[in-house]
Symmetry: C2
Subunit: 127 residues, 2 copies
């Protein structure tokens, strides 16, 4: 069995994600850490992000420039509301999906198994 060590570099990478609460690429996280004189190699940033995503503690998305970006999020099923202003991401539950599942079944003969949603707009703080 493979153990997982709690190391300083890993904690520093997650700390950035927890503090920022917005989608960040490995390079951005690396840059943020350097600014605060915290040296974590880019490789380790990548490895830590994969680890967090694997544990479901972070979720990934590819931005328009083709870079993979990550946010912290809880492990239950949910969706993200991304603010166009500050970039902050809020977790959103999905009750509304039941009616969509029914419509897919009756109009398309499609049996829904899973779904992904993402919302973009303006958060309370930015309004």
């Amino acid at each position: 069995m493979r153990a997982t060590y709690a190391t300083k570099p890993r904690e520093q990478v997650s700390a950035v994600l927890r503090r920022e609460k917005r989608y960040l690429s490995a390079a951005e996280i690396h840059a943020i850490l350097r600014k605060s004189r915290t040296n974590v190699s880019l490789s380790t940033v990548y490895r830590t992000l994969d680890l967090l995503a694997g544990k479901g503690q972070a979720s990934a998305r590819v931005d328009e420039r083709g870079e993979t970006t990550f946010v912290v999020c809880d492990q239950s099923h949910h969706h993200h509301a991304v603010c166009n202003g500050c970039g902050k991401v809020e977790d959103v539950s999905c009750e509304a999906i039941e009616s969509v599942a029914h419509a897919l079944r009756s109009h398309h003969g499609f049996k829904l198994a899973d779904h992904e949603m993402e919302f973009f707009g303006t958060c309370g703080a930015c309004r």
Copy 2:
């Protein structure tokens, strides 16, 4: 002003997308064309896909391996139902989003501007 020529390679790339109706990467399209002894360079496949996506005639998604894949779709706002069995993609309209927008506003103070949804399940033919 920039004119757009209707060329044989472009037509061949779109023909593959129209025939397959599922998410395909540039490399996959290139391979499919080669099998039918149709030689279109990989660069041209990429360029044509960008063109179609730009015109809204195809939509892109990044798969788990990190490759960008494309499907044909209509230009109006809609979502995709992807079959886990055959991979075929169906366009789905979104009426259900109104209630979601309202919930986001009242529960999160979030003003919805745009959204993305993707559905996964089993299509009529595969059941």
